[in-house]
Amino acid sequence: MSETVHETGGTGPSHRGVEAGVAVVIGLAGLIAVIGSLRVGIGWADDGPMAGFFPFYIGLIIILSSAINLYTLFAATNDQGLFATWGQLGKVLSVVIPTGIYVGTLPYIGIYVASALLIGTFMMWLGKYRWTTAIPVALLVPVLIFIFFERWFLVPLPKGPLERLLGLYA
């Protein structure tokens, strides 16, 4: 990705570079569909299309349209400017990374503990709330969720060591 300077200041990846990346990724998804379809048969059996028939051609169309999108992208001469500034992308990452940790740890520490940590971190780090506000909210929400989902609607959610310790789950 080439770096361009935006008129309003700040640098970041160029729009063209990111868009090319998106087109390539979508094209790869098409390729995966094609490969997967070949494994189950793409022919037309005597009783209609086989399991891979539709996904195969869908995959081909995806690859083809991604190629066209790439071509038009580079054929265009005008500079499309920045995709976003690094500062903006940093803000986006400040949500993606905690959420990534959240979804990654959730199967092991349970959804309640993970949610309390996510809400607390988010409020204090990004919202600059004092811990006196953040911690009560961070504790209250999981408790309400527990009462609502597990007790009232009997929907079991992932639990971890803490719940086991409290005897809520064997």
């Binding site: 098409g30 997967g36 189950v40 399991a51 979804v103 996510l118 809400i119 919202g127 929907v155 959610l157």
Partner: protein, 506 residues
């Protein structure tokens, strides 16, 4: 006919008993709650209450349970409008204009329009059920696989070609949706496909996970990029907005009527509420004078899908009772309830259990009226949620989205997929790929493929089956017209220009 009206009046008498009215309110409130939270559906609400209802009379029980159904239908629009997160497939189309309206500080207006339209659609469908129930059931029987495919075809055609984005981006996005929808078990051959041996992919990509990620999480990321706040102005918080919106709504009577008809038709044919909402939105966008403004916060873009979805959701109850085929998971659980009370859904239900059937129909009228009152009084409350600071509400939305994604298959892998979809949605939206056709393809793609292949099985591979009788030919032709509408429109205008040019020469 007169006998039926007598029965209906008797039904109203049953429904209006104070105890039943109370059950109705309880059902509606519960339904709205269940409809708002992405992790719960009407099926949860009905399933939990079902055991409690064994001590009631079947009529009271079905009143309460069907009110959960209405409540959940109303509730689905709330998260679509406020947070761009549709909880049910049929509220996806509501986000297209509902969410932009909320961003412009018109959340109250959008909610009022959505609830009122839902009510109008449902009411229209109930009236139709009351008047022509027997005809409707026999019409539903005419839908074989080819006819069902033609309906999906029409839904796709009336929606595709609507986006302003470059055509090959639209095609890429839509095809990506089809590919994602194809993952998992192929219903027709019983073979697994595109799973590459991963156990987590067995159940494929559920619509809800994709849509929570693409729309909900993607939107939070876009919001973050632009600073820590909802982009919209704070919504007005009072009930005046209801009255103001109501003054405006009668203007759209044509739109409402058309959406009602689309909805009823789709509800009776087994296609259901989701294609109805997309089709109604697509057609409204083409016909409306303000069509170019759809997607930027146009009230017509909320009225059209909501009216059609609810007309369809209501009309679909009739084939369910008369034929015993549930149209949604919620309907399936309701159907299970009927069996437990010893009521057998089927053609004879209307003959043998008149009190129950007319009680149910009466409760459809009353349930929707009560529901409308309940949700409208809550409009300011819902709109006030937008006043909670972003850094407090955003993590809570993330948590609720995670729960929603998890509960689809009770699988933590789906929660990871939700975040992946969120990042994908952020990049695709910024790179100018339309997300709506992609979601439409995920929702309807596998169903359309299934009915297509069922048809070809029946016809032994001959495509002629899609034009084999009047019904299927008509729907297919309508679809083709919708698909080529832009070209046809241009053709017509050229002919007009040519005639206009020819005239002075005469």
């Amino acid at each position: 006919m007169f006998e039926d009206i007598g029965n209906l009046m008797h039904g109203f008498a049953v429904v209006l008993q104070p105890q039943n009215l109370l059950l109705m309110v309880v059902g509606i409130v519960l339904g709205v709650i269940v409809g708002v939270l992405p992790g719960l559906g009407g099926a949860n609400g009905v399933a939990i209450l079902l055991p409690l209802t064994f001590s009631m009379s079947p009529t009271s029980a079905i009143i309460m349970l069907s009110c959960i159904y209405w409540g959940a239908l109303f509730g689905g629009a709330i998260t679509s409008i406020l947070f761009n997160i549709p909880g049910e497939p049929w509220s996806v189309a509501t986000t297209f204009d509902g969410y932009p309206m909320a961003q412009q500080g018109r959340a109250g207006e959008a909610l009022t329009a959505a609830f009122t339209s839902s009510f109008v659609g449902a009411l229209f469908a109930v009236i139709m059920i009351t008047l022509v129930a027997p005809l409707v059931a026999s019409f539903a029987l005419r839908f074989g696989p080819a006819e069902i495919f033609s309906v999906y075809f029409l839904a796709f055609c009336s929606f595709v070609g609507l986006s302003k984005e470059p055509p090959f981006k639209t095609i890429a996005a839509m095809m990506l949706g089809f590919a994602l929808g194809a993952v998992g078990l192929d219903q027709m051959t019983g073979q697994l496909r595109l799973t590459f041996g991963f156990e987590s992919l067995l159940s494929g990509f559920d619509f809800l996970i994709a849509v929570i990620g693409l729309f909900g999480i993607g939107e939070i990321l876009l919001t973050m990029e632009e600073g820590l706040s909802f982009r919209g102005k704070a919504a007005k918080i009072n009930l005046k907005v209801v009255i103001q919106t109501w003054k405006e709504l009668p203007k759209y009577w044509m739109l409402s009527l058309r959406s009602c008809l689309i909805g009823c038709w789709m509800g009776i044919s087994p296609a259901g509420a989701t294609p109805a909402s997309f089709m109604s939105y697509g057609i409204a966008k083409r016909i409306s004078k303000r069509g170019h403004n759809f997607g930027k916060g146009e009230i017509e873009g909320v009225v059209a899908p909501e009216t059609a979805a609810h007309a369809a959701g209501t009309a679909a109850l009739l084939p369910m009772l008369a034929l015993g085929v549930p149209g949604s998971p919620t309907a399936a659980v309701l159907l299970g309830g009927l069996l437990i009370w010893g009521l057998q859904p089927g053609p004879l239900l209307f003959v043998e259990q008149t009190e129950f059937v007319w009680g149910l129909i009466a409760s459809m009228y009353m349930g929707n009226i009560v529901g409308l009152i309940v949700v409208l009084t809550c409009v300011p409350l819902f709109a006030a949620i937008l006043r909670i600071p972003f850094s407090v509400i955003a993590p809570i939305i993330l948590v609720l989205c995670a729960i929603g994604a998890y509960t689809v298959h009770n699988n933590t892998f789906d929660v990871v997929m939700m975040l992946v979809f969120g990042v994908v949605g952020y990049f695709m939206k910024k790179a100018n790929y339309p997300l709506a056709p992609m979601v439409l393809a995920i929702v309807l793609g596998d169903k359309a493929e299934e009915s297509f292949r069922q048809s070809l099985l029946g016809s032994q591979g001959s495509l002629g089956v899609f034009f084999s009788n009047a019904l299927v030919s008509t729907v297919m032709t309508l679809g083709l017209i919708a698909l080529f509408w832009p070209i046809i429109q241009e053709g017509i205008s050229r002919v007009r220009v040519a005639m206009g040019a020819a005239r002075p020469a005469q």
